[in-house]
Symmetry: C2
């Protein structure tokens, strides 16, 4: 993965660019989640992709991974303090996204 970004806006796309990363973030912004919780909440994601994207987000410092060494393994993912700075960004993006989706329905042809 090339890391030669000249413009900061590319950084955000890089961090959120995966197919499932925005959805993962969205759910973690709501509350902490376990691995299986996320699997249930995100229909269509495979455990492989989920683990891979979670790892990416963790390496980016956006989420934290907490392992509870209990008999049934339990791992919780949560937004890091730093990751929480993404919330306002996500809200702005969501806001625009909603408008965009509505617009596509209202104006089929310009």
């Amino acid at each position: 993965m090339i890391d030669q970004r000249e413009y900061p806006i590319e950084t955000v796309i890089h961090v959120l660019g995966g197919k499932w990363k925005p959805i993962i973030l969205w759910h973690l912004m709501d509350s902490d989640k376990r691995f299986s919780d996320l699997e249930k909440l995100i229909p269509g994601v495979s455990s492989k992709m989920l683990a891979q994207h979670l790892r990416n987000l963790q390496q980016a410092g956006i989420i934290e991974r907490t392992v509870y060494p209990t008999v049934p393994p339990k791992v919780e993912y949560s937004l890091s303090e730093y990751g929480k700075t993404l919330i306002p960004v996500a809200e702005v993006m969501c806001d625009w996204g909603e408008g965009h989706n509505e617009r596509k329905r209202d104006e089929p042809a310009s």
Copy 2:
């Protein structure tokens, strides 16, 4: 390209998701640009990818394509009125991206 997005935040990623789309938008937010202008401004992009992404953005209603039927063909791309609503979104994203890049330099290991 799948278009089954359940969350608005995915829409934004979808619209900006290409490798060059954020940069294209960034330049068009500054001022209108011709095809060849963008090619010069974005080192490394091929005409194919530029045309492809420009078409995507146009179909998304974010940019407008104006053809001047002159002897040497001239085509100008500009942000649509609707596309301008993306500017504040881009600014927020840029702002966060800058902080993220600085953070990576300051904190090599958590």
